[in-house]
């Protein structure tokens, strides 16, 4: 019996993995990837709710589409900035990107 909670659990786990990635990856692209994992987790939520709570309305699915789209947009900009960082800092290791502090 796979119910809603199974999917929610899965998504939560994925979400937390994403968070862990954000917290620990040193590579900027790695962090971006982790963020994508978080978006995916959210999407699982939406789709699962859509399936179990509002099977006839497709709101959840539509939401997921939008999230995917925007994730793509964000990834684009993100990667552009990463490239910029790479040019300036000669590396994309976020540990070293800390001119500004305190």
């Amino acid at each position: 019996m796979i119910g809603l909670n199974h999917f929610l659990t899965l998504s939560t786990i994925l979400f937390c993995i994403g968070i862990f990635g954000v917290l620990t990856r040193r590579n900027a692209i790695g962090i971006l990837m982790s963020i994508e994992l978080m978006f995916n987790a959210v999407n699982i939520n939406f789709v699962a709710f859509s399936r179990f709570v509002t099977p006839t309305a497709l709101v959840g699915q539509i939401f997921a589409i939008f999230i995917i789209t925007i994730a793509a947009a964000e990834a684009t900009v993100g990667l552009a900035i990463v490239l910029l960082i790479y040019r300036n800092f000669k590396g994309i290791n976020v540990d070293n990107i800390n001119i500004m502090k305190w």
Binding site: I2, G3, N5, F7, C16, E36, L58, Q61, A72
Partner: protein, 165 residues
């Protein structure tokens, strides 16, 4: 409720997703991470199918696997010196990060499992593609338009930023 084969599929997919997700965040080589990310996205797409959201699954594959991941791989190639990837890929926050994340995980799962959801027993919509298309052009036309502007601005922005002067 899913039973039988679906149940088994669910577990397999979940294992793939979680396993590859963990790989994504822990691989030493960022390039390998990217590959596992692809795997993970596929797994998620499988979940969508399991949830009878085939259209979303397709979108997932197209956009995520087809666009985003490829983009990332390009970016990795452009930025990282691939095979000098012996340098540590994770910072000192692993242990505290683990603690925080597991705390969050436990609480969230606990909270969600304690919640009674208002489940519906209706059969899921089957004509999803057409229905979604219709909705996007009617009820959700406004966000749809806005998102196009988002894409436009992301496009322009990315060009402005990424281009060498």
């Amino acid at each position: 409720m899913l039973t039988g084969v679906s149940e088994a599929v669910y577990y397999i997919l979940a294992a793939i997703i979680i396993g590859s997700g963990v790989m994504v965040v822990s691989m030493k080589n960022i390039f390998h991470s990217a590959l596992f990310l692809v795997l993970c996205f596929f797994g998620v797409a499988g979940i969508y199918i399991l949830l009878s959201a085939e259209f979303i699954a397709a979108v997932q594959v197209l956009i995520y696997v087809g666009a985003i991941t490829i983009l990332m791989i390009f970016a990795i190639m452009l930025t990282a010196r691939l095979y000098s990837a012996q340098i540590k890929q994770s910072n000192e926050q692993v242990v505290p990060g683990l603690i925080i994340v597991s705390a969050l995980l436990v609480i969230t799962i606990f909270a969600l499992s304690k919640t009674t959801w208002k489940l519906s027993s209706q059969a899921p919509e089957t004509q999803t593609v057409a229905e979604i298309g219709k909705l996007l052009m009617t009820t959700y036309v406004l966000p749809f338009e806005i998102v196009s502007v988002v894409l436009l601005s992301a496009l322009i922005g990315a060009i402005v930023i990424a281009r060498r002067d």
